[in-house]
């Protein structure tokens, strides 16, 4: 088996997850100027919802999956109501702090209910995968990559080709102007929260067979999504996707060639490096303050 293409495959698979979560993260930044530190908890909750639905309740996987995603969308609205809505006129910092609080609250509530031992969630396919030219194509990684590609394409279509997408874009660019044009800004922001949570939940469900479902997964995924954003350029959608993919690849190679316990430190190191050397990221930042 050739190591380098194999690592590349794995890296892109895990990177696709980071990209999906980063996508939800970036949408919230753009729509509501919310830097959501609980983004990874959406993934953790999505995975646990799936554990309940398909594990405890015995609902078939392909039926349970959309239910879990819809539940997560609903949760996104609740989340907005608790952490964003009451603080929306008080600037960015109170909202940031309250999403940090939400992240701690969600992780530890699930910890109290399920305990620290990870849950196992089966993958989408029964076959573990197949080999192509010396590279083992893990079926779950393939599912992740295909889903991520489909979601990105779908989002592009919605944003560029539909009226709803235009309204969402208008809201993210200038809330005041959008509201003067009769766009229900509050509704658009709620939709963004719902979509962001659903996307995060989906990513969590997809990654669960690879990472195991655990309480700690949220914090790790949050940080990776944030890092992906910084690498790609804060608030930049293509940047988030590319940042997620490159982070996945760098991390996988780092774990193979440098050190496994410091795998996460590598991501943080990369994050710090980008923040200090090129804070606008690969694609440049979208947000600037006007004097």
């Amino acid at each position: 088996m050739s190591l380098i293409p194999q690592l590349l495959f794995t890296g892109l698979g895990i990177g696709a997850i980071y990209a999906l979560v980063a996508l939800g993260f970036v949408l919230l930044i753009r729509a509501a100027s919310v830097v959501n530190f609980a983004q990874g908890e959406f993934s953790m909750l999505g995975a646990y919802a799936m554990v309940i639905l398909s594990g405890a309740l015995g609902i078939p996987y392909l039926i349970a999956l959309p239910i879990a995603v819809v539940l997560m969308a609903g949760f996104g609205v609740l989340f907005a109501g608790a952490t964003y809505w009451p603080l929306r006129h008080r600037g960015q910092m109170p909202v940031i702090i309250s999403t940090i609080g939400a992240s701690i609250f969600l992780a530890n509530t699930v910890l109290a209910l399920y305990g620290p031992s990870p849950e196992v969630l089966p993958g989408l396919f029964d076959t573990p995968g197949f080999e192509v030219g010396g590279v083992f194509m893990d079926s779950q990684y393939l599912a992740i990559m295909v889903t991520a590609t489909v979601m990105v394409a779908l989002q592009f279509l919605i944003f560029e080709k539909t009226l709803l997408g235009k309204k969402l874009q208008a809201t993210s660019q200038d809330k005041e102007m959008a509201s003067l044009l009769g766009i229900p800004v509050a509704l658009m922001i709620l939709i963004t929260f719902a979509y962001s949570a659903a996307l995060g939940g989906l990513a969590g469900i997809l990654v669960a067979p690879v990472l195991f479902v655990s309480v700690g997964m949220g914090a790790i995924i949050s940080l990776k999504a944030f890092a992906a954003n910084i690498i790609g350029g804060f608030g930049n959608i293509p940047g988030a996707i590319l940042g997620g993919l490159s982070l996945g690849v760098v991390e996988t190679f780092g774990a193979a060639y440098i050190s496994v316990p410091y795998k996460d430190a590598l991501a943080f190191g990369l994050l710090l490096l980008f923040l200090l050397v090129r804070p606008q990221g690969l694609f440049g930042e979208k947000i600037a303050e006007k004097a």
Partner: protein, 595 residues
């Protein structure tokens, strides 16, 4: 308003400042020493109080960085850990005496705190929060995995306490007294810090970075100092903690603990060190009482953070503010505002010269080679239709935007490449079209920040700063509101606070960016009168406005911009009858009408 008041003592607030709180410090020190004798030599009560005291020192650090300076730091437990490991490894592995190890740990924490603060040169808000989280996580990984240095997850045992002959600091109650003395000193320092120049600079940075920089505050240095002080206190708390419990392990300094420290600060009230004490005390003692919550205490903390942000943004200590008496009026006469150039003005002297100034945003040429010379002692007006580049001009001149080309000189010195605060030091002051006051501070404090402009004659003398600020408030007629929070004033009044803030700095050139915007007719008339008074004092003013009536009343010289270019320049009568100016404002005349 107070010029007729008796020349009794100077305002009481001035005398009260210098030695304020020292008796309270002494009393508190005696109090805690007495208190520590009541605590048993060892056991449960001792441990609880010891934990609360050492945590409080670290939480006081958060008051500085988060409360005063408005920067989120999610790594306070990491600094706590650096201090703790400094003492632990220093005393156990390297055989250092306790205080040497403590100094090493505190120094280590401070160095890393300053390093994180340096990251703020390029990053604000959420970025910085993320950098602190990353630092926190990396430290946790290192503490767990670099076993050769840190003993790994097992932690460090047998940490020594200080041995000072005669003091028996190895005894529990005596060591507690040491911690309490440190805590009282820290609390006193943080409390006093808020009313010092540095403290006001931090709060100005927190409330409005752009306005802070145009008041001459070096935002970057201020943030680095806030991070440094915060990390130092984190390290000090951690070092004392290690000595208190003789054993530490990495899980005591994880991200979760950073959140616990943050919750303590937020619950008590992040604006005051007393809030920090209150919050820490409650959150150390409450979990002991609510033992059944052991399993879910972090979940409760998380929920508490949200609830505090929503319902108790100023924390428990903030509630006490509502009980206090309403803002008092400061009485007493002060020396009137000394405005530069009051006498013997050489009107030919150029206060500010701008040559070929250009600013391009991508393909848009917001400014395209503008020249201007503002003569000393004159009121120079910059007018032009909407979108002609007036505000861009002011922003480039004050250093908020970098020019694409051109030169700017203040009093003959080139300042083209310098930062905003550096230009303020050279004597530039400005107000903003969209008012930028420091909302978390009182009117007086806002104006004091202006008086503390580096380069101002009295900037280094606290008592004179208060006096100068009061004089500026007298000048604009806001003395009676000096102790009110600036956010409680009307829009028009806040504009006067901005003007007073600029005047208190005794500027060479005052830039007023659309001062009449958003004012009603009466307020506009008052503003006109104020500007005429300033003009009478000979202050050099560059005013940007739409209001022709106002401009005609005060201007000695007018420059007109349109589409980023200068289309007219000269005396008011010539400029306002200039055909290009009329065309720009009223549209082109018909071709045949010209003949």
């Amino acid at each position: 308003m107070s010029s007729t008041a008796t020349l009794a003592a100077a305002p009481s607030v001035i005398q009260a400042r210098t030695w304020r709180g020292l008796p309270a410090l002494a009393a508190a020190l005696v109090g805690v020493l007495a208190l520590s004798t009541l605590v048993p030599e060892q056991g449960y009560t001792l441990n609880i109080v010891m934990q609360a005291a050492t945590y409080s020192v670290a939480v006081a650090g958060l008051v500085v960085v988060l409360g005063y300076c408005g920067q989120i730091s999610l790594a306070q437990a990491a600094f706590f850990g650096l201090g703790g490991y400094g003492v632990a490894l220093g005393t156990v592995d390297y055989g250092l005496p306790f205080f040497a190890a403590l100094a090493a740990g505190v120094a280590l924490a401070t160095v890393f705190g300053v390093a994180l603060g340096l990251a703020s040169l390029r990053l604000g808000g959420h970025y910085l929060a993320m950098v602190t989280i990353s630092f926190q996580q990396i430290l946790t990984l290192v503490l767990n995995n670099w076993i050769g240095l840190t003993h790994g997850p097992d932690g460090v045992k047998g940490i020594a306490r200080p041995s000072v002959p005669g003091l028996h600091l190895d005894r529990g109650d005596h060591y507690l007294a040491l911690c309490l003395v440190a805590l009282v000193c820290v609390t006193w320092y943080i409390w006093r810090l808020k009313t010092t120049r540095l403290g006001r600079a931090m709060q100005a940075v927190r409330d409005n970075e752009i306005a802070a920089s145009t008041c001459g505050i070096d935002i970057f240095t201020t943030k680095v100092l806030a991070f440094g002080i915060s990390a130092l206190l984190g390290g000090l708390g951690g070092g004392l903690f290690a000595g208190a419990f003789a054993y530490i392990s990495p899980d005591q300094f994880g991200f979760g603990e950073s959140i616990v420290l943050l919750t303590m600060a937020l619950l008590g009230g992040v604006q005051s060190p007393f809030g920090a004490l209150l919050g820490t005390g409650l959150l150390v003692i409450l979990p002991e009482w609510l033992r059944f919550l052991r399993q879910v205490y972090l979940a409760v903390y998380g929920a508490a953070v949200i609830l505090i942000m929503v319902f108790l943004p100023d924390g428990l200590w903030g509630l006490t503010h509502r009980l206090r008496r309403p803002a008092s009026v400061i009485t007493g006469a002060v020396t009137p505002l000394p405005l530069l150039g009051q006498r013997g003005i050489e009107t030919a002297d150029i206060a500010m010269r701008i040559e070929g100034l250009a600013k391009h945003f991508g393909g848009l040429k917001a400014l395209d080679g503008v020249d201007m010379a503002v003569r000393r002692g004159t009121v120079h007006a910059l007018i032009g239709p909407n979108g002609s580049g007036k505000t861009t001009f002011i922003n480039v001149v004050t250093g908020l935007y970098r020019p694409t080309a051109g030169r700017i000189a203040i009093a003959g010195q080139d300042v083209t490449g310098t930062a905003a605060h550096e230009r303020t030091r050279r004597g530039l002051a400005r107000t903003f079209q969209n008012i930028r006051v420091f909302r978390g501070m009182t009117v007086l404090e806002n104006v004091m920040v202006g008086a503390e402009r580096p380069g101002n004659d009295i900037a280094e003398q606290p008592a004179l700063v208060v006096e100068r600020a009061l004089a500026a408030l007298d000048f604009v007629g806001l003395r009676q509101d000096a102790n009110r929070m600036v956010g409680t004033l009307s829009y028009g009044t806040q504009r006067y606070v901005e003007i007073a803030r600029a005047l208190a700095g005794n500027p060479q050139v005052l830039l007023l960016d659309e001062p009449a915007a958003g004012l009603n007719l009466t307020e506009k008339q008052e503003l006109g009168a104020l500007l005429r008074r300033l003009k009478g004092h000979g202050l050099t003013i560059l005013i940007v406005d739409h209001d022709m009536n106002l401009v005609e009343q005060v201007a000695d010289h007018i420059t007109v911009l349109n589409f980023g270019r200068r289309i007219a320049d000269g005396g008011p009568r010539d400029v306002l009858s200039h055909p290009d100016v009329i065309a720009a404002y009223l549209g082109e005349p018909r071709q045949d009408a010209a003949a």
